[in-house]
Amino acid sequence: MQVDWQPDCSIEHLRLRAQTLANIRRFFADRSVLEVETPLLGQSIGTDPQLEFFTTKYFLPPSQQNLFLQTSPEFAMKRLISAGSGSIYQICKAFRNGEVGRFHNPEFTMLEWYRVGFDLRQLMAEITDLIGVLFAGKLSGDTESLSYQEVFLRFTGLDALDFHYENYCAYSMANNLPEAVSICGYDHATWLDFLFSHKVQPHLGAHNLSMVYGYPACQSSLARVNKYDARVVERVELFINGIELGNGYYELLNADEQSQRFDNEIAIRQQKNLPSVNKDWRLISALESGLPDCSGVAIGIDRLLMLLSNSSSIKEVLSFSVSRA
């Protein structure tokens, strides 16, 4: 029997990964951002209904407890910042159940960093610097920043902030995506996910970094609402060559609002018969005690390596993808 013991990636790509991680560490050391580690295995997990998590059993006889593999280090890192750590970064594994494909592996490497005192604009400037260092001239175009509304309008002619069911249906029928009508129904957020990933994202960041900011409020996640326009939130996504590379927020600080968003997501989980989760009270308490004003972003290191090496599948940059892990 042929046993597939060999790595998925080339030895050359192992070196590229090591070099890239070294470059990232130097970048943050130069800027005095502290490297931290937080647990991969936690007692709480995010409530996001779009993220499926891994559950493990923790045996401590006579008791037994569920522990979860983190989908992102966000909550633990915010607790460190609330405790006075200042600006921090982390390179760690994150786990998302059921996600596998050309751009997905259920276990992947994430770079996440938080800048105390930065708003979204300042964070976007730092992202541009980091991408510039890592790609070292490999990107020919200039970085562009576009609002979600602007970019959605450009490629679909639809207003992302003003949901008109009939217009969205007419667009999908006219553009060979009739299935969108039954998949998305009357749910604005699903429509945005569908049309953005099919009709907008493929055009973003052709040989350059494209940052899309000002996400519609229905896709707020953990971002704070814009001060001047409640229809949008302070969230940014990064794209290069049509690949989603990262996601950042001007972080929500309000404990009550955070708690409310968790409750909403827990309710959606119940509606959809998804595994139930408990609200992370430790994060809520940290917010209550005071999370300093900060912005944070997470970047997928494996996808970054795909772009740096012109790989067409995430397997080409992983030592062992899940199929032979």
Binding site: Q50, G98, E99, G101, R102, H104, L177, I183, S197, N247
Partner: protein, 189 residues
């Protein structure tokens, strides 16, 4: 029939879509980091041969289609139907020109081909990749021309017309690639 979820959509899987049997060609998992997961699937309608793209919500499922490819010998054309036989079992199938389609111009009596069956009825016919056919009609070429440049049309015994080099003559047996409809070489009998 079995039910297949989007995670099981592998190239070659036969499923029912819009009441037609289809084959999965490609399945791409598409998921915004903070959004709904989709599967963008390239799929061939086995009745029409048309390839379409269709998106599914991840976790949706389709019913499998009872579609199998069977090696058969092409027997003859009775004027309204073509007849095929499975050599092992002597089981015979007949089908009209609509199902045979373009494959008809490459089918010579006694040749082997692939017949795709859906619920045990012929759905499509695929000729062998290379077939040897006789030239029944072509203009005399220029003697001494072996360059193969240019070429001329030649009518074959199945009715197909292909371009052949000038030196190839009427009555000769030639090998043709049925996927491209192009002349490959002369065949020595």
């Amino acid at each position: 029939m079995a039910i297949y979820s989007t995670n099981e959509f592998k190239a070659g899987l036969k499923v029912m879509l819009d009441n037609d049997p289809c084959a999965i060609i490609e399945n791409e998992f598409v998921k915004p980091g903070k959004g709904q997961a989709f599967n963008r699937v390239k799929i061939r309608n086995l009745k029409t041969g048309r390839v379409i793209e269709r998106t599914f919500k991840s976790g949706e499922s389709l019913e499998g289609a009872d579609v199998v490819d069977v090696e058969m010998q092409y027997l003859y054309n009775d004027g309204s139907f073509r007849h095929f036989m499975v050599l092992d079992t002597f089981e015979q199938y007949q089908t009209d020109e609509k199902v045979v389609g373009d494959a008809g111009r490459w089918l010579k009596d006694q040749d082997m081909c692939t017949v795709t069956l859906w619920n045990d009825a012929p759905l499509a016919v695929t000729p062998a990749n290379f077939v040897d056919l006789n030239i029944v009609e072509t203009d005399p070429g220029v003697r001494g021309d072996t360059s193969g440049g240019g070429g001329k049309p030649a009518k074959l015994d199945t009715g197909a017309v292909v371009r052949v080099p000038l030196f190839v003559q009427q009555g000769e047996l030639i090998k043709v690639d049925t996927r491209t409809g192009e002349y490959v070489s002369r065949v020595k009998e």
